[in-house]
């Protein structure tokens, strides 16, 4: 738990609780024998114990003496330790803090650091008030007329049932259109492959060898292509003519030369 709070002596103005404080009066504070105070299971942590100790001062929580509270808590811890009772770490951390706070409260004011002991004390007091208020609120809540304990709903309600029914809608046009789309979708599909302008490898081979036969010098590959072909045919002719050139070189009918990478590819007939 956090230990960012502590207490200070604020009880100088021992408050006289006014009427509006009813809720914070310790309704559950029980008169208990001191001996019972060593029942460790009785408290849910040190704040709970502090609240109980504070209520034993029998004043409004706003008027409690923090110094007295600190002393009571420390006494409690000491007695528990003397009896070798197992103490949760929370309780010891709180004890250490309260001991520090007590010394701070007793020191001259000038030597105080920030936050001041008075502020720390106020925080502790506020926390106790908050917890006390919630404990009181819980008790009042539980004491209300509760459904199923003090007041009762109808034992055997008939129940309300709403049956949802659908009214479907569709019109003539949607119906006929849907059928048309089913028919259109499932019509046999005919794939047409359009004729494309290509130069086959065979025709490229005969064209390149024929042209090589009438030329003695090196010729660039592109000179073998049909001069006025449309781009698509020209690409096809280039590919076919290239393969034809490789074929002629492989069969020893032509020589191939290329001066640089991606440079023009040149062909020359091999004279036997």
């Amino acid at each position: 738990m956090s230990v960012d709070f502590a207490g200070s002596e604020l009880s100088g103005a021992a408050s006289a609780p006014d009427g509006s404080d009813d809720w914070s009066v310790a309704a559950t504070a029980e008169e208990r024998d001191d001996a019972l105070y060593l029942e460790l299971d009785g408290w849910e942590g040190p704040l709970d114990l502090l609240l109980d100790l504070a209520r034993r001062q029998k004043v409004d929580l706003r008027g409690i003496s923090i110094l007295e509270l600190v002393d009571q808590y420390l006494t409690y811890i000491e007695r528990a330790e003397a009896l070798r009772l197992e103490l949760a770490a929370d309780y010891l951390v709180m004890a250490a803090w309260l001991a520090y706070l007590k010394s701070a409260l007793l020191l001259p004011k000038e030597e105080q650091e920030d936050p001041s002991p008075e502020e720390l004390a106020l925080r502790l007091q506020l926390r106790l008030q908050r917890l006390g208020a919630m404990r009181e609120a819980a008790a009042r809540l539980m004491a209300r007329d509760r459904l199923g304990r003090d007041v009762f709903a109808r034992g055997a309600p008939e129940g309300l049932r709403v049956d949802r029914r659908n009214r479907w809608q569709c019109d003539w046009y949607s119906l006929v259109q849907a059928y048309g789309q089913v028919k259109a979708r499932t019509q046999p599909v005919v794939h047409l492959v359009r004729e494309r302008a290509v130069m086959t490898l065979d025709s490229a081979l005969s064209r390149v060898s024929a042209m090589l036969g009438v030329n003695l010098d090196w010729m660039e590959l592109r000179d073998f292509l049909p001069p006025h072909a449309e781009p698509q045919l020209r690409r096809s002719a280039l590919a076919s003519s290239f393969v034809a050139a490789l074929e002629l070189a492989r069969t020893g009918k032509a020589e191939l030369a290329q001066d640089e990478t991606f440079g023009p590819l040149r062909l020359k007939a091999v004279r036997a």
């Binding site: 009762f152 709903a153 109808r154 034992g155 055997a156 008939e158 129940g159 309300l160 049932r161 709403v162 049956d163 949802r164 029914r165 659908n166 009214r167 479907w168 809608q169 569709c170 019109d171 003539w172 949607s174 119906l175 006929v176 259109q177 849907a178 059928y179 048309g180 789309q181 089913v182 028919k183 259109a184 979708r185 499932t186 019509q187």
Partner: protein, 201 residues
């Protein structure tokens, strides 16, 4: 009206909270052997004409809703919903090809048909089970109903436009592929829940 006395109030609350009808004796025992007859009579008279009655059934007393308001306990709510694309197609196929089995519907549509799709058409009252086809597996076959004809304003199924008329109206033109793919997605069994309700309103 004078306010009810404590015994009347106690009997009223006891019967209200009771999980089962109670005999006068049981009420009396519950309330420390008080004589509850007069209280029951007074309550009966008080609730006469209200939305709730105190009634005696086989010597047991209970509150119940006034008989004329029984319809409030069970209400019907009509939701108007548009037929989904898939259901419209199936309905059209049944109308054009009836009687037709589910397998045949699927063959014509070219996609699987969710069970819910036919259920919707049965619920709408436009399609009925027309028996079984006498082939192996004896599949259920479906046909349209008189309600179908009247809803779509048809004198008979012959009023449905023929294939030639559909073609003339441009309804047989191939549709955009993406659109078809989308329609197919919606129509398949993979999404039976949304397939039916996706385009309902």
């Amino acid at each position: 009206m004078s306010p009810p006395d404590d015994l009347v109030r106690a009997v009223e609350a006891t019967l209200f909270a009771a999980e089962e009808p109670m005999t006068a004796e049981a009420i009396s025992t519950h309330l420390g052997d008080a004589d509850v007859k007069a209280a029951l009579a007074e309550l009966c008279a008080h609730y006469e004409g209200r939305g709730v009655r105190l009634v005696e059934r086989g010597r047991r007393w209970q509150f119940q809703t006034a008989p004329d308001l029984a319809h409030l306990l069970r209400r019907e709510r009509m939701d108007v919903r548009r037929l989904s694309r898939a259901a419209t197609e199936v309905l059209a196929i049944v109308a054009y090809h009836e009687p037709v089995s589910r397998a045949e519907i699927e063959a014509i549509r070219g996609v699987q048909t969710a069970k819910g799709t036919l259920d919707v058409l049965l619920e709408a009252g436009w399609v009925r089970v027309a028996g079984r086809r006498e082939v192996p597996g004896r599949p259920v076959i479906y046909a349209t109903t008189p309600d179908f004809l009247s809803h779509f304003g048809l004198a008979s199924r012959r009023d449905l436009p023929g294939i030639d008329e559909l073609r003339a109206a441009g309804l047989l033109d191939p549709v955009d592929d993406d659109l078809v793919a989308e329609e197919l997605e919606r129509g398949t069994d993979r999404e039976p829940a949304t397939g039916e309700s996706a385009d309902s309103d």
